[in-house]
């Protein structure tokens, strides 16, 4: 796993190693403190990867780093998505390159209605699902389309955040704790949606505290601990490995 893939070969490389998103030796800092320490992992096209770990393990930081946000700052390493070097991009470019992040605090934009929040996502190319299609997926949002986004209930906000990501034509969906604060029925709904999305060929990285649930959905799993990768393998493997679960996930 720790052999640097040869990115320079472009397409060629994709044929030899089917990684769709590759993170290679990434380090990231908040100001002066070192959070993400030399992380490498691959995600294959169309799969769901569960990114797990305790509170403060660095999951959110890793997702933010991949989405090329300023904070944390990536200081070392490479990130490739479908032959594009994300590590050379700013976050809006990464977004145009196909990254869709649903942040953990949902980041619904104040002052904008539900519909405006969705419209905003369709300003920059490439555009994904139509707004009507999204309303079909989440009828609740359709009912509330004229309401200011931030006054939605927690669960509604989560739906809006996911819908907003899908409103763009994304290649990879980064989900930071999407089930948090959702009623169990809705969690079931979203899980179904994620399966639908997977069928559409969208690759997903899922960060989730409910590890069992995530692992049941995921194809593969990467476990982080204090900013480093401690496990990279199939989801089944984790489910079957009590020791691993005990040590890093406490389940």
């Amino acid at each position: 796993m720790n052999v640097k893939p040869d990115f320079s070969k472009g397409r060629n490389y994709a044929e030899t190693a089917p990684a769709f998103l590759s993170v290679w030796n990434m380090e990231a800092y908040y100001g002066e403190s070192y959070i993400v320490q030399n992380i490498s992992f691959n995600v294959h096209e169309g799969e769901i990867l569960a990114l797990l770990g305790r509170n403060g393990a660095g999951k959110t930081s890793t997702l933010r780093a991949i989405a090329r946000m300023d904070n944390p700052q990536v200081t070392h390493g490479e990130i490739w998505l479908d032959h594009q070097p994300l590590h050379n991009m700013a976050s809006h470019q990464a977004a145009q390159g196909g990254i869709g992040l649903v942040p953990e605090d949902r980041s619904i934009i104040p002052g904008l209605t539900v519909e405006e929040n969705l419209q905003l996502a369709q300003i920059a190319p490439p555009v994904g699902w139509s707004i009507n299609r999204l309303y079909e997926l989440f009828p609740r949002l359709g009912e509330r389309r004229k309401q200011e986004g931030v006054t939605l209930s927690g669960g509604e906000q989560q739906m809006l955040a996911i819908a907003r990501a899908l409103a763009r034509d994304i290649k990879v969906l980064l989900l930071d704790e999407p089930y948090e604060g959702l009623a169990p029925v809705i969690v079931d709904e979203i899980e179904k949606t994620l399966r639908v999305i997977k069928e559409q060929g969208i690759t997903t990285i899922l960060v989730e505290q409910n590890a069992v649930r995530a692992l049941e959905l995921a194809d593969r799993s990467v476990i982080l601990d204090t900013g480093s990768v401690v496990f990279d393998g199939s989801a089944k493997e984790v489910l079957g490995n009590a020791e691993l679960r005990e040590e890093y996930l406490a389940i």
Binding site: G31, E32, S33, Y34
Partner: protein, 400 residues
């Protein structure tokens, strides 16, 4: 000692030593040298340093701790000045009643304005305070100085006239502000070789008061009250749901800082018995904001440094005229001399505002924490610490 932690105590001691030795420290250049222009150790400027230091320390108690940006603090300074001169006019030139009254009056005035303006926060609060101060200014400048009811003497400024009552004045006392007979103007000049140093009564009185104010400010910063003020700045919502009423805290901070401003105003009148209305104008309120940010808002010593820097520029840089420049660069060949002078000239003398503007920009751009951050960086360089280590310790130390 004095209820202070070691760190704060040493800061207080350093400040005390610096203020007491200021007449020496500020006059580093021999009187006859070309650099004498940069000497700042004369009574008026030294007095301004400490008085505006008091003003800025007080402002920082409000702004630095609670984050409420008052854009009308000069009103309290002005009210304090007027109160003090009125005491001179009625009672006589002893500064004590004047200074006390200026604290009381400005405190009451701050209470009145605070109760109203603190109903709003953020920019709305700033504009409310600005509006009150501008109204006070307009009243003082013209409305309250009409011949029938002359409270402020308008544009000229309130001053003492020979026919004022001065009930407690006697012939044995100086005809100028004094502290029990000790004239504020009294200055002892000491000549040491090529150097000259001035020790002025007014300065030392103000300096002692400033040290008291500084000490009080440290105590406030480190007190539970100070903690509550920082809580106001951080998250008022959480504060309210933690059972704390933020309004009396902010009001108390507002009144305390208004009293500091009033005290500063009183002292201005005490060392120079004329109270002008421009002291209340928005530019004066803006000045204390600039001093505080320039020095480092929320830090203890920053506002004093900021006040010092601005007053230094206003008083020293503005006096460098062309002939002074010729004096300095006279050693250069003629053509070069003229060239250098044309280059420097726009920035000094009447161009001092330009230099000040440039300094404001440079400081905020490169030293986001103000001059204090500059000091810290130099200190860090000095100690040769790695940035990462410093950052970690910075988070664990209580905020300065």
């Amino acid at each position: 000692m004095l209820g202070l932690k070691k760190h704060d105590l040493s800061l207080l001691i350093i400040v005390a030593i610096l203020t007491m030795a200021a007449p020496f420290l500020l006059n580093p250049f021999p009187t006859e040298s070309g650099m004498a222009q940069f000497n700042a150790g004369y009574p008026d400027l030294m007095q301004k340093f400490v008085i505006f230091g008091i003003f800025a320390i007080g402002f920082n108690i409000l702004f630095g701790l609670t984050g409420y940006l008052s854009f009308g603090h000069a009103a309290f300074l002005g009210v304090g000045s007027y109160a003090c001169v009125w005491m001179f006019k009625l009672l006589g030139y002893n500064v004590l009643p004047g200074i006390l009254l200026s604290i009381v009056v400005s405190g009451l005035f701050a209470l009145l304005i605070g109760v109203i303006t603190l109903r709003r926060s953020g920019i709305y609060f700033s504009i409310l305070t600005l509006a009150f101060a501008q109204m006070s200014f307009a009243l003082a400048y013209s409305v309250l100085s009409n011949p029938k009811f002359n409270l402020t003497n308008g544009e000229t400024g309130l001053q003492v006239y020979a026919d004022d009552p001065q009930w407690f004045h006697s012939d044995r006392l100086p005809d100028l502000p004094h502290l029990f007979g000790l004239s504020m103007r009294a200055t002892h000049r000491m000549e040491l070789g090529a150097w000259e140093f001035q020790f002025n009564v007014g300065y030392y009185m103000c300096a002692v008061i400033m040290l008291l104010c500084f000490y009080l400010a440290i105590r406030i910063f480190r007190s539970p009250f100070g903690l509550m003020l920082r809580a106001v700045k951080s998250n008022q919502q959480r504060m309210n749901y933690t059972g704390l009423n933020s309004r009396p805290y902010t009001l108390a901070a507002f009144v305390i800082s208004g009293m500091y401003a009033g005290l500063a105003g009183g002292l201005l009148s005490a060392v120079d018995p004329l109270a002008g209305a421009e002291r209340m104008q928005w530019t004066a309120s803006g000045e204390v904001v600039l001093m505080t940010i320039l020095g480092g808002a929320g830090t203890l010593i920053g506002p004093v440094l900021g006040a010092g820097l601005i007053k230094y520029f206003e008083n020293i840089f503005s006096k460098i005229n062309e002939s002074v420049l010729h004096g300095w660069f006279g050693f250069l060949p003629d053509g070069l001399e003229d060239f250098v002078i044309t280059l420097v000239y726009p920035f000094v003398g009447k161009g001092w505002h330009l230099t000040l503007g440039v300094i404001f920009m440079l400081v905020v751009i490169f030293l986001p924490g103000g001059l204090v951050e500059g000091g810290q960086r130099i200190g860090r360089l000095f100690r040769g610490k790695k940035p990462s280590g410093a950052a970690k310790s910075a988070t664990t130390e209580p905020a300065e």
